[in-house]
């Protein structure tokens, strides 16, 4: 089955506007944090959850820490050639 060409070229055009998408992402993230000042959980399950920006900091910190620790420290220890099928 042929994929729709029009959709493909729209995606190609969207890709060329990467900077605009990046600005849009930052704007959305800023808006989410602002919303978080007004919308907080009614019954926080632990102390920090009620603070505005908690989940933003948690997610950003977790993503950065996870990538750093896994790619820089864990990966070099565990990596083996891809197609050796586990042979020592």
């Amino acid at each position: 089955m042929r994929e729709p060409q029009l959709l493909g070229s729209w995606l190609e055009a969207a890709r060329a506007r990467a900077d605009a998408w990046k600005k849009a992402l930052f704007a959305v993230l800023g808006a989410l944090v602002v919303l978080n000042i007004f919308i907080t959980p009614h019954h926080p399950h632990f102390v920090g959850e009620g603070l505005p920006g908690f989940w933003a900091v948690f997610s950003l910190g977790a993503a950065i820490a996870m990538v750093y620790v896994l790619k820089k420290i864990v990966y070099p220890v565990l990596a083996r050639p891809e197609d050796d099928n586990g042979r020592p």
Binding site: M1, R2, E3, P4, L7, G8, S9, L11, E12, R15, K22, L25, V28, L29, L32, V33, L35, N36, I39, T40, P41, H42, H45, F46, W55, A56, V57, F58, S59, L60, G61, A62, A63, I64, M66, V67, Y68, L70, K71, K72, V74, Y75, V77, L78, A79, R80, P81, E82, D83, D84, N85, G86
Partner: protein
């Protein structure tokens, strides 16, 4: 035909029957005429959907609808209640989607294997006793291993053997546990075990279940084997094995603390490995471990809300994980590889594949409007409301890792990272798109109308996923994980490698066993052969000649010489049937086993 009346009576058509019957019919069909008979593949799933729907709208409460006598026991093949039905419901839907996706594959062997595998899954879900469960449990193992072997590559053959040996290992724990349990309690009934009253045999059975649930450290068969399965086989496998295990855990082991902790370890272990993996289908395999972790954790916490969350998540997971495997399967089918380092720049050339994949990706990541959001938040909120804050936080951390690796890393490096790709792409058949589009619509539909799913859950729930806070929280987690990816974009690109995991342990054990057999045991055997040749063989040959003459001339001659005739006719046929390939023997054994079981089923 008492058996048939019981199983296929007006009240209950066991969904396995259609799949088993089709597997039998396909044995007499040829691959050459595949285009004419392939539509038959859709019949058993459609029948299964009707069967399960009629049960869902039938009377409430547990029912026992089909039993038969076998080996001096009463096998209960039709225990029907809300817990069984929620799993049967999604199994039926996913079997239809899987066969639509596989409709172009002109290999009846693969379809027979899928049929047996799915029949096993339904059999487990409706099993009311451990013997029935064990029979269908093993049928699943055998069906699924052929979905790996039939990819017909050397890596698939090797991975299939490791997969099968490990599942036999798990199956033996189940068998040992159920026999010990019977010796103590005098019953094979498959009922819930109270955590306070669990005995040693309950824990032995639990180990058998945890092998199939891919609980760390018994999980390594999954990321080892699934990436080697056929393109369409992996779609089936992502749905049934681990979710059947989740079902039996929910049925028998709710409230076991070891599951709550083990589930969280699975959640995190899976995402950690997925973050550093290169093969798209292996990344998705590690995410099965992680997502099943949410379910196992919910079962371990054991409140009504977390059990509902586990079932809802299993339902949602089967749909979106099948969709993700279909998307990655399209890449493998079309571009010839699923390795991220060899992909990239495909978004404008495969836009529909990319969009369908992304629906699966945002579903698994728990984005509002998609089914993962209405099931994952239920499990996590349930954990928090049961005052298991650390478990809830751990699951949120796994959610960050999920979006990072399946939601951003995989699609970014498969579809975007490089300039538009110029590699030759094999055209993808229409039915593969159809399977993905149906799955995408279901992921979206359940996300928008969660009551369609909540209405099926075993416990009544008034959980509301769409509150302003839940939606904002999910958006914050996904958005800032995206920012994290952007910040770390220089470090995260995948490398062409495979990472060490627990499978190395059983590879070493296997290799050690081969060494043991080929070095010391072979040396002893050589000495013995020498002694035997020099001393024993001559005497034995002489006595053999005398016996043979006596047999042919005296015993067979007295009758009519038929034995000699049969030997000469049958010898060549028997020799040809002895291929020496273990796969062929396994196929023959399961065929004979099923034939005996069918004979007992229908004639007994």
């Amino acid at each position: 035909m008492a058996g048939l009346d019981q199983i296929a009576g007006i009240h209950f058509l066991h969904p396995s029957i259609g799949f088993l019957a089709l597997a039998l019919v396909m044995a007499f069909l040829s691959n050459e005429r595949y285009m004419t008979w392939r539509w038959l593949l859709l019949a058993p799933p459609v029948l299964a959907i009707f069967s399960v729907m009629s049960l869902t709208f039938g009377p409430d409460g547990p029912r026992e609808l089909a039993s038969l006598h076998y080996l001096g026991q009463t096998l209960n093949l039709g225990r029907v209640d809300a817990l069984a039905l929620v799993f049967a419901n999604v199994f039926a839907i996913q079997s239809l989607i899987g066969f639509i996706y596989a409709l172009h594959v002109p290999d009846r062997g693969q379809h027979m294997a899928a049929c047996l595998y799915i029949a096993g899954g339904f059999g487990c879900v409706f099993a009311g006793d451990y013997i029935t469960l064990f029979i269908f449990w093993e049928l699943m193992s055998i069906g699924s291993v052929f979905l790996i072997w039939l990819r017909r590559t050397q890596a698939a053959t090797a991975a299939g053997f490791r997969y099968f040996l490990f599942h036999i290992f798990g199956g033996l724990f189940l068998l040992a546990g159920l026999l010990l349990r019977h010796a103590d309690l005098g019953t094979f009934a498959f009922t819930a075990v109270s955590p306070d009253a669990a005995r040693y045999y309950d824990y032995i059975i639990l180990i058998g279940f945890l092998v199939n649930a891919a609980c760390v450290p018994l999980h390594a068969w999954l990321p080892d084997a699934y990436p080697e399965a056929t393109v369409t086989g992996a779609v089936f496998m992502s749905a049934f094995t681990t979710k059947t295990a989740v079902y039996v855990l929910a049925r028998g082991y709710a409230g076991f603390e070891v599951l709550a902790i083990g589930g969280l370890v699975m959640c995190l272990y899976g995402v950690f490995y997925a973050t550093i993996e290169n093969n798209a289908r292996r990344i998705l395999s590690y995410h099965i471990v992680s997502q099943v972790g949410y379910m196992v954790c919910g079962i371990g916490i054991g409140t009504a809300m977390t059990l509902d969350g586990a079932c809802a998540h299993a339902y949602a997971h089967i749909l979106y994980k099948g969709l993700l495997f279909m998307g990655a399967g399209c890449l493998l089918y079309s571009a010839g590889t699923a390795k991220l380092t060899e992909l990239g720049g495909l978004a404008s050339r495969l836009p529909l594949v990319m969009i369908c994949y992304m629906v699966g990706a945002v579903s698994i990541s728990g984005m509002p409007l998609f089914n993962g959001f209405v099931s994952k938040t239920m499990t996590i909120t349930g954990a928090a409301e049961a005052h298991r804050t650390w478990l809830a936080l751990g699951m949120e951390l796994a959610a960050v890792g999920t979006f990072l690796s399946v939601g951003i890393k995989l699609p970014y490096f498969a579809f975007w990272s490089k300039p538009t790709s110029t590699v030759a792409l094999k055209p993808i058949p229409w039915n593969m798109y159809a399977g993905m589009i149906i799955s995408s619509l279901l992921c979206l539909g359940i996300g928008i109308f969660p009551q369609t799913l909540y209405g099926l859950l075993p416990f009544p729930t008034d959980y509301t996923p769409y509150t302003a806070w839940h939606v904002l929280q999910a958006c914050l987690i996904l958005g800032f994980t995206g920012l994290g990816f952007y910040v770390m974009r220089a470090i995260i690109p995948p490398h062409a490698s495979r990472n060490l995991d627990f499978d190395i342990l059983y590879r070493l054990i296997g290799r050690g066993f081969v060494k043991l057999v080929s070095v010391p045991a072979a040396a002893i055997d050589n000495i013995w052969t020498d002694v035997y040749e020099k001393v024993g063989l001559k005497g034995l040959l002489a006595s053999g000649i005398v016996t043979s003459i006596f047999d042919v001339k005296v015993i067979d001659g007295v009758l009519d010489g038929s034995a000699k005739g049969v030997r000469e006719v049958g010898g060549a046929t028997v020799a040809r049937s002895q291929t020496g390939r273990l796969q062929d023997y396994l196929a023959a054994a399961v065929s004979i086993g099923l034939a005996i079981f069918a004979a007992v089923w229908f004639l007994g």
